[in-house]
Subunit: 542 residues, 2 copies
């Protein structure tokens, strides 16, 4: 690992603009933005994916490896990634920092407390919650309806016992009411932080959060209970992007980690914009497959921030193809060319969708040891047939070297003229926006809305929020709202069960099916395998 | 403000042993301890106080100012202080970093997230809680009795709504049970961190925590559910002391902030021991008045860590004297020599107590603008009569310069031979220990125990825990368990309402009266006054 001061210097950042967190992590000062704001932007490359098998396709890995490969072929490149959440690290999946020779470092610290951003967001979230109950306790001057409070509490932990709780029991601790905890990445504050351009913007957005409704049915905001500025104080450092490095010393901005279902699932706008000023290429990722992640990256993040992507990379794997071709998890390691071809329909649809956004697209085949030569040949042949540039990627095993071919394809794509356009215009109604996504992108035939969803849309319209983009919360495994309808289904209906208003983040969350915003721990949590020695070295964070 | 690297260098710490958190905060590496462990210790000075008026007597202020003054008279000095908790900073009292010209810097950052120690403790606490409920959820192999779980959840926030809650509502989120949140400084993990000597010690102590009892009534520990190592991982950086500076550039270790009622209320052993290796003098403080704070500092912290204090400073104020002399808060600014003399009985008793510990004692009169010359003369005269060295302190207004006389008195005291001895021996039973404290130190006449308290003592004895010291949880305003019995009362009975076993921290908590471990916010929380500007400058943290 290089000292982060050295990584920064090579990226053109002086020590004056670094706030060091130990020797290998730093925050980038607000002043740095002022210094570079007038520079031209580098090219923005989005890494997204086909619908995955449950083990995932290696999107973060590919993002990191591609950034390393671009540096190797002479393009000054940053990666821009999301911050891991502590909950899942201690629960099911271990860390979220790539792996093999395409990892971000120091992995254990990034996966654990990092520079404290998630803790700051948790604190700001819970300060607001405490101030709401305190407002009720001390007389409720704003006449908040205790039954219509929608702002829950937050914790960066997988803790199912806190999903649904009753607070305020006992004498003088009231009011007694139902409540619950979200995991911190599901907090609207996380989404807000990731979409904010600077402190003033953050303050405005926090002030617009709807925490509940008053006795007249009017929305109540943090501004009404004087909580906004204190939340800004708690978030002042979290708003600054974090700089770390890859295993090859490539600079990486790791900043913000919003949920990919009830939020947009992309790293921060501040971090992306800063990286674009510092590099020729910025490689970033979005959550889940391209049906959710890329759509929200384009229609929410790029729209909000005025970003224009130059290229998209669709990560696919032989296993995910076979999974989409109907093979169960237990048999994915066996060669099966028929299933592979069957599953390619999923890739084809994602490529078409990305092209419909006007973004030049490259397919990255993230290679596994179990892939057979015949399978790999077949995949590449199908890509050729589709007319999409494709490259094998072996960045897990070889680092940037294993992504050179991919990097060259990405540069060719990014040098094409971009004709990027949003899928829908602001002026459409939320219903029309949702229908556009379902019919044009998912290729469904219809959308149904629950009574509750329609009522909320009406309420949002009454508040002047109909121009907001929509944020789809849907299973990541399928174009439909059923996780088992794989491949490229058609003729399906998407059922909108509810709508939530994220007025601060600036989108309407469209729920399809039930939604879990607080995970639980598995029978044997990842936490059980963690160890630290006398020198502070951590093992067991897979 | 000097760069923290410069403060460190002047204190003999090289940059290699610093982990920087921005330009003005750093953690001290474990390696530093290895390098200095063989050096002789400096002199340890405890700053404690008389029973205060509700506005407080300025103990932290005096600790900081005295450390500055000692440096001015040529003694190489560190201060060792507790970390503020976010909850109270946002609630009632604003910051906890001293004030005026005796402040620690950067005050806003120390008061807010600092280096993340409290967040790490919160995370470790809640991981354990989540793993307990998860153990029950996945079959409860250890046969934990859900009704006998004593481990609650924690948050560093003043939030009365979370004091008593029900968790596990809804389908598949169970078990349904009563629970509650503590504020983080009240977590046993905070007490453990503050008493641990290094990682192995931390691991041992965490493993001994009693989280509840099984169906056979046997204690269950974090070890039983494989949580200990993951907690150590989350706490690995929190275990490292933090270095900051005073307004005069004096080095300060700010590390650990345990509650002063259900815990011992002193900064970390690691920090204190390290400071003693780096300085001629280390000035530290304990929570509340000397009846609670100094007693626990001596009998818990010094006993656990093998520390020998060289001197004690008893901070008093004219207002606190008049308050103890029977004057209400509204009239404390008026000269009242009779009340002053009346209240001096409180000081006299504290001085006698400190002397009984064998610790040379100095009185610091923390001067306020409203004190009259006649009052100050009277106080000094009474101290002379008592035969105790006393000095006026004006460190708020003048910084170290205003504490020179006090520093000289402290040096005289610390150069006397110390005959420090604990108030009670390990071999006494917990009942005898409590009676010794009540009768010898508080000067009460008797102790009564509730049935629950006696039952817990029996249980603790059965677990071999009777040798542990006791940690008194009592009102800080009086020697008695009644906050309105001021001055130097005699002939009173202390009522022990309950006992809690902190087997990990290593003490038995003795509750007298009711106990609040989660504060609430006032009608107008301090948070409402906070502001931050575009450059990240914070105002309003009083």
């Amino acid at each position: 690992m290089k000292l982060i001061t050295d990584v920064a210097r090579q990226a053109g950042i002086t020590e004056e603009d670094l706030e060091l967190y130990g020797k290998y992590k730093a925050k980038l000062s607000r002043d740095l933005w002022e210094k570079v704001a007038d520079r031209p932007d580098g090219k923005l490359v989005l890494v997204t994916a086909m619908n995955p098998n449950p083990a995932g396709v290696g999107k973060t890995l590919t993002t990191i490896g591609l950034s390393q490969a671009l540096n190797r072929i002479g393009k000054k490149t940053f990666a821009a990634l999301r911050e891991p959440s502590l909950g899942p690290c201690l629960g099911m999946k271990g860390g979220a920092t790539g792996s093999g020779k395409a990892e971000i470092l120091p992995a254990d610290e990034i996966n654990l407390h990092f520079t404290g951003d998630l803790h700051a967001i948790t604190a700001a979230h819970n300060l607001l919650a405490a101030m709401i109950d305190n407002h009720l306790y001390h007389g409720n001057a704003r006449r908040i309806d205790p039954k219509k409070i929608v702002w829950k509490r937050a914790m960066d932990m997988n803790d199912r016992a806190l999903r649904q709780i009753v607070v305020g029991l006992g004498d003088g601790n009231g009011p007694l009411r139902e409540d619950g905890f979200l995991i911190t990445p599901a907090s609207e504050i996380m989404a807000i932080l990731c979409l904010s351009e600077q402190m003033d913007d953050l303050r405005e957005r926090l002030g617009r959060i709807i925490i509940g409704y008053d006795q007249d049915g009017q929305p109540v905001t943090p501004r009404d209970i004087h909580a906004v500025d204190a939340m800004c104080v708690l978030l002042k450092d979290a708003l600054k992007p974090n700089l770390v490095q890859t295993t090859e010393g490539t600079p990486v901005i790791v900043h913000g980690g919003p949920f990919a279902n009830i939020a947009h699932g992309c790293s921060s706008v501040i971090g992306t914009k800063l990286a674009l000023k510092l590099a020729d290429y910025v490689v970033t990722e979005a959550g889940f497959g391209a049906d959710l992640g890329a759509e929200k990256f384009f229609d929410i993040k790029c729209r909000s921030a005025g970003l224009t992507p130059s290229a998209a990379v669709l990560v696919i794997t032989v296993k995910a193809l076979k999974y989409n071709g109907g093979i169960g998890a237990a048999d994915l390691h066996r060669e099966n060319l028929a299933a592979l071809k069957n599953g390619f329909a999923n890739v084809q649809r994602h490529v078409e969708n990305l092209r419909n956004f006007g973004v030049p697209t490259v397919v990255a085949v993230n290679r596994f040891a179990t892939d057979t030569p015949a399978e790999l040949d077949a995949v590449l042949a199908m890509c050729r047939e589709l007319g999409v540039d494709a490259a094998l990627s072996t960045v897990w095993k070889e680092g940037g070297k294993g992504g050179i071919e991919l990097a060259e394809a990405v540069v060719r794509a990014a040098e094409q003229p971009s004709s990027f356009a949003f899928l829908y215009e602001d002026r459409l109604s939320p219903r029309e926006k949702i229908e556009t996504i379902v019919i044009k992108l998912y290729r469904g035939s219809a959308v149904t809305f629950s009574g509750a969803a329609l009522k909320t849309l009406e309420k949002a319209d009454g508040m002047g929020l109909s121009r907001l983009p929509v944020c789809m919360a849907k299973t990541p495994y399928s174009f439909t709202d059923q996780p088992d309808r794989l491949g490229a289904p058609t003729d399906f209906t998407i059922h909108v069960s509810d709508i939530r208003i994220s007025a601060g983040a600036g989108f309407l969350v469209v729920l399809t099916g039930s939604l879990l915003t607080m995970p639980g721990l598995p029978k044997k949590p990842a936490a059980e395998a963690l160890r630290v020695d006398e020198h502070g070295r951590v093992t067991g964070l897979a």
